[in-house]
């Protein structure tokens, strides 16, 4: 299990619509904000990189000291961004794929407005379970 992992879903308008700290490390009070900052800055990299490949999983796109940003871009250009310190590439890929499936299920909810914040607690629980499973 990774000690630090911050997962964020960014809508195609660059707005974070879901965030979760999924690491096991004792949470630093300010960690969330720093992680957000790093992930936000990594959007610059993603914007360049997303169009160079047809793959959805962009692998690690950015490094920040010991932390790595892995990104998965859906067809609708929603970005799943994970800030992590583990090297488990396969696990991260599977995690992204499973979250993608969950996200699609959320999208299918007629009461969910695409691009709005994902507030479903069920989604949150599932994502955290997936994180435990794969990291």
């Amino acid at each position: 299990m990774a000690t630090t992992a911050c997962f964020i879903i960014v809508s195609r308008n660059d707005i974070p619509i879901y965030e979760a700290e999924v690491g096991v490390a004792a949470k630093r009070e300010d960690a969330a904000q720093l992680h957000q900052f790093i992930l936000h800055a990594a959007l610059d990299v993603v914007q360049d990189l997303a169009w160079t490949t047809s793959a959805m999983y962009l692998k690690s796109v950015d490094r920040f000291n010991e932390l790595v940003v892995s990104v998965y871009v859906t067809a609708g250009h929603t970005r799943f961004m994970l800030l992590h310190d583990s090297r488990n590439d396969d696990g991260i890929k599977s995690f992204f794929q499973d979250v993608h499936e969950l996200y699609i299920k959320t999208l299918l909810n007629p009461l969910y407005l695409p691009g709005s914040r994902v507030t479903s607690s069920h989604f949150d629980t599932k994502v955290r379970a997936l994180a435990r499973k794969y990291f």
């Binding site: 904000q33 936000h40 959007l43 610059d44």
Partner: protein, 1273 residues
Amino acid sequence: MANFLAQFQTIKNSSDRLVISVEDVSDLWPTVKPAFEARLPFKKASLNNKTRNPVLVETLPAEFILTTDSRLRSRFPQEQLLFWFREPYATVVLVTCEDLDEFKTILKPRLKLIVQNDEREWFIVFVSKAHPANDQASKMAKKVYAKLEVEFSSKKRERCCKYDMHFPEANFWEDLESKITECIRNTLDRRVQFYEDEIRKLSEQRLMPVWNFCNFFILKESLAFIFEMGHLHEDALREYDELELCYLETVNMSGKQRDFGGGERGDDQAAVLNPGNKALTQIVQEDSFREFEFRQYLFACQSKLLFKLNRPIEVASRGYSFIISFSKSLALHERILPFCMREVWVITACLALVEATTSNYNDGLMVPDIEKEFFLLLGDLYSLGRVKFMRLAYLVGYGTEIERSPVNSASLSLLPWPKPAVWPSVPADASSEVLDKEKLILQTTPRAKHFGIQRKPLPLEPTVLLREANRRRASLSAGNVFEIFDSRQGPVEGSGFDASSRMSPQKVHASSMSRTNSSPGNFDGSIDRPMRLAEIYVAAEHALKQTISNQELLKSLSSSEEFEQKYLELTKGAADNYHRSWWKRHGVVLDGEIAAVAFKRGHFDQAAKSYEKVCALYSGEGWQDLLAEVLPYLAECQKILDDQAGYLLSCVRLLSLDEELFSTKERQAFQSEVLRLAHSEMKNPVPLDVSSLITFSGNPGPPLELCDRDPGILSVTVWSGFPDDITLDSISLTLMATNNADEGVKALKSSTAIVLQPGRNTITLDLPPHKPGSYVLGVLTGQIGQLRFRSHSFSKIGPADCDDFMSYEKPAKPILKVFKPRALVDLEAAVSSALLINEHQWLGILVRPLNYSLRAAVLHIDTGPGLEIEKSHIIEMESCACVSQNDDGQGGAQVDSLNYEKRFERLTLDDGKVVFPNWASDTPSVLWVLIRAISDTLCRGSSSGTTRRESIVDGMRTIALKLEFGAFHNQTFERTLAVHFTYPFYVRTRVTDKCNDGTLLLQVILHSEVKATLTVYDAWLDLQDGFIHTGQTDGRPNSSFFPLIISPTSKAGILFSICLGKTNAEEEATKQPESILNIKYGISGDRTSGAHRPFLNESTGVDGVRQELIFKTAITLQRPVLDPCIAVGFLPLPSDGLRVGQLVKMQWRVERLKYLDEKEVSQQSVSLRKQKKEECLLHVRSLDEVLYEVNANSGNWMIAGRKRGHVSLSIKQGARIIISVLCMPLVAGYVRPPLLGLPDVDEANIRCKPAGPHLICVLPPALSSSFCIPVDS
């Protein structure tokens, strides 16, 4: 071979171009040298690269050296092989000869000797000194040259060329150049081949213990150098790349612990671009090189070549990754390196790379994508240098100068501290510095956050410096007290004061103890005593002074101003380059850092601008956590700059951020700021957009539905994002029609103050009548104090999932629907059958609301002429169970009628108005109004022979109704009802029989005209003059027939027996022209179906008592007429028909039917008509003359001849005469023919044939151009 390293280096440094040796056989070089050297460097030389592919080298520098030159002569053969790269690549043999014998005997053997050495690439230049004027000499020279060619050139290769000193041939230089190039190419190939073979040999031994990297390096670099001399930079670069790979392999592979290097003075300055920084001999170590220097050397060589290849971008990209990887190597060896060596090296390397690449970079020559990449790299380099610089600055105590922003915090707090073997300790003589630092620390107060935000500042250190430094020191001695308690300490602030103030009591004790120990002069030799923060700073500063050799960098760390200067420079560099590379997020964030410095320096204008950019980025992308960090600074700038509009907007944005980002107290502070400004005198009141803070939506559920012209009350849900109640002095809300964009938007206003509680509020607004259509909410505007605010329409389900940015996409829900005008109510007569005229009757008005409430409706009743409302003004209202007219509501209507409970109420008419009771608001009801239709005319009977002439209009009366209804009596409905009134009977008479005795039987037939049962109680006939009742009866039929009941729409008959009577003189005065039939009758009917018993006031009328009414009708009786006297017959017309414009003769035959008696002539002519009997009394002026007159419509006929005149007709019975008149028809079609009239004879005495008016057919005229029709006809 490694011993040759020094020599190799010197040789390499001394020779930098290809050498072409000149064998000057005939002492010609001094003469031709200038011309030859003018050709250097060679242009567009074709060489082969390593893979033997031809490459065109743009410029190839070379040098001509005489073979007799000391540089070439003094070499040992062994050296020659090793340093082959410096040997001549071509040999030019310069000869001249003017005599064939001389050539054969002297020159040829000598040349043979020179060229026998196969190693060399040679060719001969024959210089002809012969003047062109001198034919003899030229010829000789040609001959000699021909011999030379024969001797030395082969078919395969031309090895000779001829140079005419006076007039060189046009293509000589080209020829020469190509020959030289060819030689160079061949030599190059050979030597490359040789080196490659050597390298291969050596590579095969790589895993053997005897292997020596230095030898490999010399060979490899020689090869690279050859390529470089030949300007084959690409190949040279490849050699260096291979060398680097090989070296890294060696370093990583061999388990030998080697000296890393980097410990020398000046090593802290990166030498990534200076290959000559250190002699290689200095860094050689056993069979290899020291890593620190050698890797930099390799990179420097590579970058040099890349610059020559004009690829500065690649330098930057390779450089960046080199710095990263090298920094890692430095980290591995940090224990043996000077304190913070790694950081210093990275800073210098980054700056050097930035400087070198930008100076070698030609702006605008690159493809945009590559250019973008380049700026990105520069940005990264600046950014890397910046982080390391901040780290150094923090160590020497400028931490308070560094903004605790997310970017700085993320960079620094995730970056581990330097890990020296031992943390530097305070030098002995630095006590005063320590004191100064301590004072400085005490003086600096942490920057107060605006709005009293209590947020914990972001960290700039990975762990507490105090602990880290002491731990590093303490690791020298085990079991240190500090270490023990420090391990229990939680994460605390970087500053020692924060730490001590938050420590546990035990901690405070320890801290205070350390402070007492640290009185000046008392810290000497206290190596095991924990250092205080100030001491750490001073120690680091001293250690850095030792490490840093770059004066500029040292100066940058010497004071906080200098630090700020450098910091700003690096930040700006990074920001600018990120912006140029379109990495706006990186760039804008750094702009924020520049803003922080500007803010600190008091340049608020500049700071505000930069902060605005940052805020725009974060808010645009909805990263609220990050926005919350910057926005207070922007607000503060705006406050200082007195930018009220901006400040207000910032406060609103702060308030509209997620609630958990700020505490309630902080949010209240924001709100109070807004209110303070709103209620203060604002210079320029600006509208404030509070869309994110005050949002509104219609109530859930279906929209409010209104009928056309109806006002209403609109209820709107307003969400307030303010933490406290807020009073809105006034608000107005616009509604926009969805179907009709150009319709003016109407605003609903509420001028009363509205207090909004935090969260959900419901406000109601009066809604004036709107045009039909559906409406959505538009803009909410309002006023708080002096402040005008507005909020744009987007609905929010609730604050929990508020998402301001996305709600634009939500479809607007209509909040109000105004229906198209439709019938809301229907007024009609409840009864369609006729009522009794001249009697008080109940007029039923059926009021049927059509899905619309008639609460408190007012009905105005206005009667038309001939109709009056009864004085008592009593109106009855009862509910009506009549089924609705909707076909689909059949079932529902039945249910209604089952549950129907009859309501009845008596109302009074007041001033022509009646107000509806409440129960009548939704159900259909009938209003009974007591009226009376007045008719002065007497009803007339008719004879059975004629058709009924009475028009239905006679009994028609109108009543105008106007219903005012709706919540505000805004709806009106007007209708004029036609009510039909009638007499109860319609009477027809006929004489049934004319008896021989002159008695006439007069039958009176009574038709019932009403839908009610009529009862005839009595009937009598008042006869007119000339008629009398037979017998002594008074004209009444036998009373035993009465009462006679007549059902609705049935008829009954009464027979009267009358006869012609004489007129006597008394009756002359009271003679009446008509007979009157009187009928006394009663009526029993229901007002719901038609005519009914007339209503009488309760006071007068007694219920149940027979109510008798009198019906009178006039009957005209005519006395029978005598025999006719004259017959007029219309003679037939010609059979071929009449045609327009054709004359036709009309003929009538007048015949006397009866002999005219003298007596009867004088008798007054009286006309009487009796059924089937006609008598004629002829009045004649002159007995045998008859006056005639032809009447014709002058439009249809033109009459020729006498229209009027007398004709003689004998008075004898049977006398006849024909009257003919010429006529011409003027129009075609069926027209009435002219009529013959006899004015002197009473009409009643003339029998006509045909009896009635008739039509004849007139054909259209035959086509004739000469015929004209009068226009006016």
